[in-house]
């Protein structure tokens, strides 16, 4: 219930870290990528038949499954005419030797909340169309499952969420005998989306004052700073510094780099978002 410095749990040797820093100082990366280059991206949707929507993302060796379940519930009191979004993340114990069994820790909670804020503000999901008569609302449960963690979970998880939402079929609302509303999963229609407004989370790492996209696991353990910008069209819809510090010129440069990364991720999403 308090946040503790987590350095002890994840480990990279001092020598390896120094090597990564030296490389970075000369604008090189351990895996040979350019500073503005992401790893290979593979996105598939409809991978979980029991979900109302799902997607699988591989960003290099980072592997995430997002599953969407649709429910009925109470709208938030301050948005009585809108649907509800609940994003949760679970870093499976499968994902790395450093992951412990247990309820989501602060990193998983932060991951889910950053993804959540990106989706919430951009207009990608049309929450107004998710109100249900009788004071109820659709609830979109987005569960982010980290199967393998090779770094940069947030970018991968965000891609998986937006792809899974695109894949989501909304069960119809029907009334039972007593007049109460319930879902009919035999009668579904696509989730109302504005695909042009898809939010894209892009993380920028900093080592030795050099900025780069899509840090992998080893780079993450060597970072002097990390910031994530979630971008939708011409707007920043979420930002989160998650490590270290940035000067103001660095922040501006990081934002510009993030916009480049956004284009790369959008490219990978194209086939998903295009197919309607």
């Amino acid at each position: 219930m308090a946040s503790v410095s987590p350095y002890a749990r994840r480990f990279i040797s001092y020598l390896r870290r120094e090597q990564i820093k030296r490389l970075a100082a000369s604008k090189n990366r351990v895996d040979g990528r350019a500073l503005d280059q992401t790893r290979e991206i593979e996105i598939k949707t409809g991978v979980v038949k029991t979900a109302d929507g799902s997607a699988e993302v591989k960003l290099g060796k980072t592997h995430v499954i997002a599953g969407v379940k649709v429910g009925l519930g109470q709208p938030f009191p301050d948005a009585p005419d809108e649907g509800v979004l609940v994003v949760s993340a679970e870093v499976l114990p499968h994902a790395s030797p450093y992951t412990e069994v247990g309820p989501p820790d602060e990193s998983a909670i932060e991951l889910a909340r950053v993804v959540d804020r990106g989706i919430r503000h951009c207009g990608y999901v049309d929450f107004k169309k998710l109100a249900v008569e009788g004071g109820k609302a659709y609830v979109l449960w987005v569960d982010l499952y980290i199967i393998n963690d090779d770094g940069n979970l947030v970018d991968a998880a965000n891609l998986a969420s937006v792809a899974a939402l695109k894949n989501t079929q909304l069960p119809a609302v029907v009334k039972d005998e007593s007049g109460a509303v319930k879902l009919d999963r035999n009668n579904k229609s696509p989730l109302p989306l504005e695909t042009s407004k898809v939010p894209v989370a892009v993380s920028v790492g900093k080592i030795a004052n050099v900025l780069f996209l899509d840090p992998n696991f080893e780079e993450e353990l060597s970072l002097d700073g990390r910031v994530t910008f979630t971008i939708s069209e011409d707007r920043i819809v979420a930002a989160q510094k998650t490590l270290g510090y940035f000067t103001q010129p660095e922040l501006e440069a990081a934002l510009d780099l993030a916009i480049k990364g956004r284009d790369r991720y959008l490219e990978a999403l194209k086939s998903i978002l295009g197919s309607s």
């Binding site: 979980v48 038949k49 029991t50 979900a51 799902s54 060796k61 592997h63 499954i65 599953g67 969407v68 379940k69 429910g71 949760s88 679970e90 499976l92 114990p93 499968h94 994902a95 790395s96 030797p97 069994v101 309820p103 449960w141 569960d143 499952y145 199967i147 393998n148 963690d149 090779d150 999963r185």
Partner: protein, 246 residues
């Protein structure tokens, strides 16, 4: 017992078109989680389990380690999106806790734990899609992940379920048959050693039905075993190719 939405068995054919002694399509891949020491994904039809193994590694807290043997830790868990209809709460249910235990006790007789004193071997299993027989698909996946991690084993453990549907003993229950059938017998079996390591009956069966079901389980386990062995071979073939390719 409620009426099923469709007949479970008609003219000796099950609702999904299978014969009573037929498994659903079995898909197995080994080495699917790159960080893990060993891993496997197993599907029986629309049921999918992913297992990852870490270890042998140092036991924490140390006072729980054993001087003469390794300790196993097994977790079976279902993804919130893995079930039909409503989202499942991610909090482990009593059912998930019980299954974690019976899976551990099904794997322990297969693993040479005495080779790993003071160590721990972790087996994590996640159900990605559930359509019946999740614990037995988990068992197959876990056993393959252990083998993939190079853990010394006496034999592979293969899981299959048998059930009773309209009075007929059937292999590999799907979700429909699990919900509307007349009972369910998940079995874990070591095909070479011919040992049962998991056995749970949830039903009300006469002695002869039970024994008949055991026989069918053995048959099913032997079938899955072949596929599992091939999957392990493929993994090591492709590693060899990779090394050769260098």
């Amino acid at each position: 017992m409620k009426k099923p939405p469709v007949p479970l068995l008609q003219n000796g054919v099950r609702a999904d078109g299978r014969l009573p002694d037929q498994m659903r399509e079995v898909k197995i891949s080994v080495g699917v989680v790159s960080n893990a020491d060993g891993s496997a994904m197993v599907s029986y039809g629309a049921t999918t389990a992913v297992a990852a193994v870490y270890g042998p590694r140092e036991m924490h807290p140390r006072h729980l380690s054993l001087p003469d043997r390794g300790v196993m830790r097994v977790r079976y868990h279902m993804a919130p999106f893995s079930t039909k209809d409503e989202r499942k709460s991610p909090t482990p249910s009593r059912r998930e806790i019980e299954i974690s235990k019976v899976l551990r006790e099904a794997l322990e007789p297969a693993v040479l734990l005495e080779q790993y004193p003071r160590s721990r071997i972790d087996v994590f299993i996640e159900i990605i899609q559930a359509d019946g027989s999740t614990r037995v698909a988990s068992l197959t996946a876990a056993s393959l992940a252990l083998a993939d991690a190079g853990i010394y084993m006496r034999d592979l453990v293969v899981g299959v379920s048998v059930g009773l549907v309209d009075g007929v003993v059937v292999l590999d229950l799907n979700g429909l048959e699990d919900n509307y059938g007349e009972g369910d017998l998940p079995v874990g079996y070591m095909p070479n050693l011919k040992r049962f390591v998991l056995l749970q009956l949830d039903g009300a069966w006469k002695r002869e039905v039970f024994l008949q079901a055991l026989n069918l389980a053995v048959k099913g386990a032997e079938y899955v075993y072949q596929i599992a062995r091939d999957a392990l071979k493929n993994k090591y073939m492709s590693i060899a190719e990779e090394i050769y390719g260098r």
